[in-house]
Amino acid sequence: MKNAMIRLVGIGKHFGEIVALDGVSAEIRESEFFSLLGPSGCGKTTLLRMIAGFDEPSTGEIYIDGKSMDGVPPNRRPTNMVFQNYAIFPHLNVADNVAYGLRAQRQAKDEIRGQVSETLEMVGMAGFENRQSHALSGGQRQRVALARALILKPKVLLLDEPLSALDRQLREQMQTELRHLQRAVGITFVFVTHDQEEALTMSDRIAVLFDGKVAQLDSPIELYRRPANKRVGEFIGVMNFLRANLISEFPGGYEVDVEGLGRVAVSMRQAPGGASASRLLAGIRPEMLTLVFDDADSSENYAKGEVVDTQYLGDMTYYEIALDGAGKTVTLSMRNTAGRPILAPGTGAKVRWTPESVLLLN
C-alpha cells in the first residue's frame, strides 16, 4: 500500500445556510490518479479549491504529504492546478506562460528555457514557444495549462474538469494522454469531473460525492460492480432496479424474492448495505441480462417477458423488456455478434441471468 499523499479529515464547508461539504474524510495515495465524481453542486470543486488553498474549510483539516495545510496560502502549497477555463495569461506567450512559476523561483534564464521546451515536448507542444496565447485552440490551451503546472514538479496536480470544454473526439484523446502522462511523471493527480465514463476510464480510485458527502470511495471496477446504494448505481452506468422481499437469511447471504426474476440467493458480498431495510431493491446491470434465442437452453435462471422497445446502436442493441410479474420494464443490452437476430418490439423474450450479478440495495 502506498503512502497517503493527501489526508482529508472531516472537511466541512458552509456558505451561510448552504452546506457545501459535510464531514468529508478521505485518503489520496501517492502517485494515484484520483477522481472526485459527482453531479454539479455536490461540492467536488469546492473540495479541490480547498486542497489548492483558494478556500478554507469551515471544519476539519487537510494534510498534504504529512503537513497540515491550515493557513498555508496557495503559493506555498506543493500543489498546482489546471483550471477549468485553463486561465492562460493573455498578455504572455506560450513560453512565458509555462515559465511563469519558474520565474517566481528566480532560476537562471538558460535553465528555464531548457525546462520549458522539455515540458512543452512532454505535453506535445514542442515548437510552440513563441505562439501568442490568443492564437491557441482549446486543446492547445489545455496542454499549455498542463505544462505550466507540471514544470513546477508539484507533489499533487489538481485538475478542475479540464476536459469539459473540449469536443468529444479531442476529449477522448486527451483522456488517454492524461493517463499516460500521469503514469510517466508519477505525480498524484486529483481530477474533478461530473462525467462518470471519464472517471471510470482514467482513475485508479474514485470518490463519488453527493450533497457534500462521500457516497462511496472505491476503484472503478468495484464502483461499477458493487455500488454502495441505489443512487451510486444509477449515477455510474445504467442499472435496473426491481423490488425485492426478504424471505430468509442463511449463513453467507440472503434469499430474496425479486419481482420478475423469482427467488434469488444473494451472497453477503453482493449486499453492501445488508438486508435490514423494509424496502429492498435488487439491482442488475443491462449487460448482465442475456436474451436466450435457443429454446432448448436449459439454464436454471431465466425469466419470460416481451420486448417493448428496441434501440439499435450498431455494435450493441438495447432492449426495453417487460418481464412477466414485474411492475416496470428492464433494460438489457446485447452485443451484435455474427448471426444474432435483432428482436422487434412485441416479440416474446426469454431472459437469462445469474445470481452473482444481482445486487441487494437499500
Binding site: 483558494f54 496557495p74 503559493n75 486561465a87 511563469y100 512559476g101 490568443h134 492564437a135 513546477l152
Partner: protein
C-alpha cells in the same frame, strides 16, 4: 425623369439612411469645430499689423513660437504640469478603481461608481474656488494646522503656485481616470489571479505580473483622457496658479485678447496641439499593443 427615379431609389438605401442620421451632428461639428480650427490654422500664417491683418502667408509666427524663451518655458511648464497631473490622477485613481472592482459586492459596484461622480455635479469653477478656500492663507488647511499649533505661520507653498494647479486638476479629472481603469480591472478574469497565486506568486508579485499588465489599457486610456484637456486648461492656472503657475494656454489667451496678436496666438495653439497629438499617438500605439496581446 431618370434622375428622379434614381434619387428615390438611392433614398431607400442603407447608405442614405446612415447619411441622414449622421448629417446633423456632422454639420454641427463642421460649423463649431472644423471651421474655427481652419480659421485658427489660417490666422497662424498671417501677421497682425496694429488694427489690420496682413494676409501674406508667413512662417514668422511659428518661428517666434518655437524660438523665443518665454514660449519655450511656458510650453515645457505646461507639458511638465500636465504630465504630473496625469501621473498624480492615475496614481490616485488606481487604488479607488481597484477597491471598487475587487472589494465591493458586485451588486453595489454601480452604486459606488455613481457615488464617485457626485462631487462632479458641482460646477468646475465652484470646485476651484473651494480649493482656494481650503488651501488659502486663512484657509481650512492653514487654519487647522495653526489651531493645532503645528505651524506658527500660514503655509504659503500650497496656493498660488504649480502645486496648487496640480492638486486642483488631479481632483477635477479623477472620475475620468477612475472609470477606464475600473472597466479594465473588471475585465480581468479572476481565475488568472488564482493561477498566478497557484504558480507561486505572493500578492505583490501577482499584482505586478498579472493585474497591472492586464489593467494597462485602462491606465493608458485614463492617461490620454487626463493629459489632453489639461494642456489646454487656462482657468485653473489663472485662479490658483499665481505668477509662476501660468501655462501656455494662458499665453494663448493673452495673445488673442490683451496683446491683440491673434496670429501669434494661433501659431502657439497649433504648436501645442501638434505636440499633444504626437504624445497621444504614442499612447494610443502603446494601448493597441496591449490590446492586441490580449486577443
Amino acid at each position: 425623369m431618370f434622375a428622379a427615379s434614381e434619387f428615390s431609389r438611392w433614398r431607400r438605401t442603407e447608405g442614405f439612411k446612415g447619411l441622414a442620421l449622421v448629417s446633423p451632428p456632422f454639420l454641427y461639428a463642421l460649423a463649431m469645430l472644423a471651421a474655427p480650427l481652419a480659421a485658427v490654422v489660417l490666422f497662424s500664417f498671417w501677421t497682425q499689423d496694429y488694427l489690420t491683418l496682413d494676409r501674406t502667408p508667413t512662417w514668422n509666427n511659428y518661428r517666434t513660437a518655437w524660438s523665443e524663451t518665454i514660449y519655450q518655458v511656458l510650453m515645457l511648464r505646461s507639458l511638465k504640469i500636465s504630465a504630473l497631473v496625469t501621473a498624480a490622477t492615475v496614481l490616485l485613481s488606481f487604488p479607488i478603481a481597484y477597491y471598487v472592482s475587487f472589494y465591493i459586492d458586485p451588486r453595489r459596484k454601480t452604486l459606488w461608481i455613481f457615488l464617485i461622480t457626485i462631487p462632479f455635479w458641482t460646477s468646475y469653477l465652484m470646485r476651484i474656488f473651494l480649493w482656494k478656500v481650503i488651501l488659502g492663507y486663512n484657509g481650512v488647511v492653514n487654519g487647522s494646522l495653526m489651531g493645532l499649533g503645528l505651524i506658527e505661520e500660514p503655509l504659503t507653498f500650497i496656493l498660488y503656485n504649480q502645486n496648487a494647479v496640480i492638486l486642483t486638476l488631479s481632483h477635477a479629472w479623477a472620475p475620468f481616470a477612475i472609470l477606464p481603469i475600473f472597466v479594465a480591472l473588471e475585465r480581468i478574469d479572476r481565475s488568472l489571479l488564482e493561477a498566478a497565486e497557484d504558480l507561486g506568486d505572493g500578492p505583490l508579485r501577482r499584482f505586478f505580473r498579472v493585474t497591472l499588465p492586464l489593467a494597462m489599457p485602462g491606465v493608458l486610456a485614463a492617461s490620454v483622457i487626463v493629459f489632453i484637456p489639461t494642456i489646454g486648461d487656462y482657468v485653473t492656472p489663472r485662479l490658483v496658479g499665481g505668477p509662476n503657475g501660468l501655462l501656455i494656454a494662458n499665453m494663448i489667451e493673452l495673445q488673442f485678447k490683451k496683446a491683440n496678436n491673434a496670429p501669434l496666438g494661433s501659431a502657439l495653439a497649433i504648436s501645442a496641439m501638434l505636440i499633444v497629438a504626437v504624445i497621444s499617438v504614442v499612447f494610443l500605439w502603446l494601448n493597441r499593443r496591449y490590446i492586441r496581446s490580449r486577443g
